[in-house]
Symmetry: C2
Subunit: 260 residues, 2 copies
């Protein structure tokens, strides 16, 4: 039922406190987004970080300081319409909350960044396996040894998601996800995790481990968690992000962003 | 001969004053870019304008304030390595110069934005006609009645280039240029110019008119001149841009940016 819910109905339930869980699989076909809110004084360098690292940090929308209604969902309010937020002070996690209405400041700029939930819909439609969905787990995420290009005080290692599949399915997955360049696009690596500095696929840095069947290879995509690590790397007085998996759901269809 | 020149050799000739003409067709296969330089105080809003209007203003590189060596050509210096620049004060064109070494300020941020010369190479390789090259003219450019999404003080109408071809060639041109999403990507319109508010194809706002043969339709792409109009719309004390057609030539291959 949640899959067929409209984005506005989903956001209404989130705003009223009826929905406080992750948004994976909800309002299927509508674009979901990572959120970062930080002071306008640092907005240029954070936008520059995202521009320089567009694969993990594809910019969907940036709001002027103090504005909380995004162009991709004009009736929404970013202060209430995500099920769970994280509050960071000086780069340290302070608490998780279900509204940031009493923390958002008029000088803060909000960034909405693409999320791989969008290409997952396309992958499922193409008959490709998404193991974490099959096993009802959060996707496996790993911090790699590749550094993003820094900008001002913002820096981060590239974070990746991993989905196992057969080599033939991996070829199809490259084709399917290439179209979604604003939600991480094509994989950045197929095969040996050691090439990315990943020691053990069974111990992800975020999310859950998933089963890799015989004959399958790990396929790695750039991940939006990169933007969270970058945002808190500057140790600003106040940074607000979504809690992992608790995304902003927009009124824009996934297909609207596809390039082919 | 200029087509096979290396980017570094071309930039050396430009820097020494041996080359002062447009860069169209030079160092074929290497990415060329539009240039905008403006004060750091306005860099966030200009980057936001480009992010919000990525089709006409695809960001290739943004340099920190005072920096003039871009990542896409590390040995270059943006103050000398373009054949011709335009100096604007309060949004008004003051002069054209061949170096901005005595005008560039330490607080200025430089933006390099994608240019359609890149997909022209791919179109020619696919056997498609580029009328302005056939007729040895500058490409036809038109100001449309479509407004870009503004950001802070920056606003501009969408500017387009036009290349005439048969409908079958237009289909192929869509396929070929879609790959180059950082150099304007697929066309934004095929057919009736009135749909874009263009009154007369024989009177372009920039560049030259070209011949349209019987059976051909006009095909329109977003154009980087949009970024110049946006930059000067804020009427800042000082804005520097390239002169039309006199682009920055990078060390990056066109194909490096192609997504498929």
């Amino acid at each position: 039922m949640s899959a067929t819910m409209s984005p506005s109905e989903l956001r209404r339930r989130i705003r009223s406190g009826e929905w406080t869980t992750p948004t994976s699989g909800a309002a299927t076909g509508f674009l979901q987004a990572n959120l970062v809110m930080l002071p306008a004084s640092h907005a240029f360098h954070f936008l520059l970080f995202c521009t320089r690292n567009a694969k993990p940090c594809p910019v969907l929308d940036v709001l002027e300081a103090g504005v909380t209604a995004p162009a991709i969902a004009e009736e929404a309010d970013l202060r209430d319409d995500l099920p769970r937020y994280r509050i960071f002070e000086k780069g340290e996690l302070q608490e998780e909350v279900t509204s940031v209405r009493n923390r958002f400041q008029p000088d803060m700029v909000s960034f909405l960044l693409g999320c791989s939930f969008s290409f997952e819909n396309a992958m499922l439609a193409a008959g490709l396996p998404i193991r974490n969905i099959e096993e009802n787990k959060n996707v496996s995420m790993y911090i790699t040894d590749r550094q993003c290009r820094p900008a001002g005080p913002f820096k981060a290692p590239l974070v990746v998601t991993m989905r196992p599949m057969t080599p033939a399915q991996a070829v199809r997955a490259v084709q399917v996800t290439t179209r979604f360049h604003l939600t991480h696009g094509a994989p950045i690596h197929i095969g040996d995790p050691a090439d990315l500095g990943i020691q053990d696929l069974n111990r992800p840095d975020f999310g859950d481990p998933v089963t890799i069947h015989p004959g399958e290879v790990p396929v790695f995509w750039a991940c939006g968690v990169t933007s969270t690590l970058a945002a808190i790397s500057a140790k600003l007085d106040l940074t607000i992000t979504h809690a992992p998996g608790h995304m902003f759901v927009s009124d824009l269809k996934d297909e609207h962003l596809a390039i082919l």
